[in-house]
Symmetry: C2
Subunit: 373 residues, 2 copies
DNA sequence: ACCCAGTTCGTGAACGTTCACGTTTTCACA
DNA sequence: TGTGAAAACGTGAACGTTCACGAACTGGGT
């Protein structure tokens, strides 16, 4: 009937091709393919073999069109290579799979793309998005329309839901630890990465800026003085640390902002120690940076924790493997992923309303004491 | 017209709802939504606003049905939490995105699922699959029918394409290094994870098996004696190491199989060193295991590399942060991901035929010499 | 007033599947 | 040999969009 020569196959086989080959109707093929009742076991097998032979695969589009969508969620992540994200992504995938959802993933860190590009890429294919967008919550929600968006580590704006972190609490834990160990002269090693930094600007690893902050009660003016200023407190984490610092008794803290890598941190701390050898405690933007700090301290012949305490942040698995093992402000990243999916589930089910207070959760770090502090 | 009350929305808005609201036809709405020519800018804007207001999102199913599929590839990965995989996954996503494809991801490591479950879960939604399936290449390809499957670290079987690794070459590199350093008494620390091990069997970290293998030329009988035997060479990596070992001059090698974690490796090596303090070189299944080896050696007061060399495998970023920094048989995981996507691209474009020799690539490790060996 | 070209918009058909029925076949039992 | 119910199978309609084409409207030049 068809003009297609036997050997070649010009277009995908459809259900009608199988039906014709088996001498039955569409519906019978449907019954065979989906293991529905009301069909003889014999014909079912015959059809399945025939389908296999013809290379027939049901069109997911036709199926979705008539059956209504299975939920598919987009997952936007800046960089899987950063050890912070895999545990989170893994947890999201696990939770979504449990619910029978599928996860369309975009790692937008490479090739100069940003969180908004990721959402634009995902939007046509998904019913919702979960992601670390780095400041594009509002615009992303506009692209998605009524479909729920869960942003992480960012104020929700117009997004349907959000998970943020209590960085003030984390800072309090770190500072309390430093003070109870009697360390007065400390440093905060921030990341140069602000929330909306253009992706193509490659930060210079050598070019870091020091800012001396004589901590004194009442002085809360520790936010960046302006764009491009030399202040070392750049990120939300850093600013929270500065704020808590200002409210507490006099601690002498110097802030340095470096590229978010171990090697950049290593050179930065080397330079810092030359200028200020008396530093007795260092809090790092994250564990990756902290690992560079440990290396620099070892280079300088300082003992950790005796001469200088080191506290990291995030609690990635790397920390346990370092020596000394890293004390860190840990986040249960699998818990973060699970919570994000639960939020989304609530929004999709209607038990939660988009933009409501219940759809904005704040999680806390806990201090995991190992060897470095 | 519709019975839907204004406040509630019972079903998704369709293109007809927008058309009715704007007083135009379907086609005009299509033109407006897809930025096609042949429409007044004024009406275009009016329709877009209206669509936004009604929460209209074009059905991806209807669109796909009429336009023909955008390629969507499934990515099956055993465990994103294992630092081996993120770089690979990230690279696959990057390459796929560059081609305008989307990636549906499944991390099947949690909840007792295996590679076959992952493919079953992905199959209805994708046009192809790339993945580490751990021995299910054949059955997975059967599920996918004519859709191409690229398996990694596994013989292709009936799969369309495959990427395997030259573990013999890696073993040669390691052994050459050990011998040129004059180390005769060595150990291989394998993983207990065989290729098709049932997922629910949780290996006991304490229960590892030693096997003493007096290396001698000609003795190639180093494969496992049977299921559950105590032989330490369990994995493809281990067996390749054993084979190369047997072909080379006498090296005294003990093989131990442990759970694939740093802590398990640590205790195993502790025990091993008590029995055989003279071990002067250790090759580990992967870098994670190697990091445990480093800890155990430090515990025992051994200096690395003076007293004992340590060589890891995979070249994950962790290795650089350890002290001493880990010498390792590195794989460029981004390259692996890129190659997998290129293979798939060739298969989809027809420039490569499924199951052909050209569709089976073998990549090699290279020895990255750092401090530990 | 007329025509023509270009612009703007509308209509039938098709994509491939499932759903809700309706029709035929089977078969055990009276 | 009917009979009736259950099993097996078939048919129109619908899902929501785009494609190919055709119709109507616009405006400038004669």
């Amino acid at each position: 009937m068809t003009q297609t020569p036997a050997g070649r196959r010009s277009r995908r086989a459809t259900i009608l091709d199988v039906a014709a080959a088996a001498g039955v109707s569409r519906q019978t093929v449907t019954r065979a393919m989906n293991d529905m009742p009301g069909i003889k076991t014999e014909t079912r097998q015959r059809i399945q073999e025939l389908a296999n032979e013809l290379g027939y695969t049901p069109s997911r589009f036709a199926k979705g069109l008539v059956q209504g969508a299975r939920t598919s969620v987009g997952l936007a992540i800046p960089d899987l290579t950063n050890p912070y994200f895999p545990a989170f992504a893994s947890s999201v995938v696990e939770q979504a799979t449990q619910r029978g959802w599928q996860v369309v993933m975009d790692d937008y860190g490479h090739g100069g793309r940003n969180g908004l590009d990721a959402v634009e890429h995902l939007a046509p294919h998904v019913d919702a998005v979960i992601g670390y967008l780095g400041g594009y919550a509002g615009q992303a929600q506009a692209i998605l329309g009524r479909r729920p968006l869960i942003v992480l580590d960012e104020e929700p704006g117009s997004a349907a839901g959000a998970i943020t972190f209590d960085y003030r609490h984390a800072a309090e834990l770190a500072i309390r630890r430093l003070r109870s160990a009697g360390r007065r002269h400390i440093a905060y090693l921030d990341s140069v990465r602000g929330p909306e930094k253009p992706a193509h600007e490659k930060p210079d690893a050598e070019n870091h800026a020091d800012t001396h902050v004589p901590g004194m009660a009442g002085s809360t003016d520790l936010l960046p003085h302006g764009p491009g200023s030399g202040d070392g407190f750049v990120t939300a984490r850093g600013r929270a640390f500065a704020a808590v610092l200002a409210e507490s008794d006099a601690l002498d803290c110097v802030a340095v902002a470096v590229e978010e890598s171990a090697s950049a941190a290593r050179t930065a701390v080397r330079d810092l120690l030359e200028q200020q050898p008396g530093i007795a405690g260092i809090v790092a933007f994250n564990d990756l940076v902290a690992s560079g700090v440990l290396k620099a301290l070892a280079d300088a012949g300082k003992r950790v924790p005796e001469d200088c305490l080191v506290i990291g942040m995030d609690g990635i698995p790397l920390g346990e493997q370092l020596s000394p093992e890293l004390t860190t402000l840990a986040l249960d990243l699998r818990d973060v992923g699970r919570t994000a999916v639960e939020l989304l589930d609530g929004l999709l089910a209607g038990s939660l309303t988009a933009g409501s207070a219940e759809a904005h959760l704040t999680l806390r770090h806990r201090l995991v004491v190992r060897q470095s502090a």
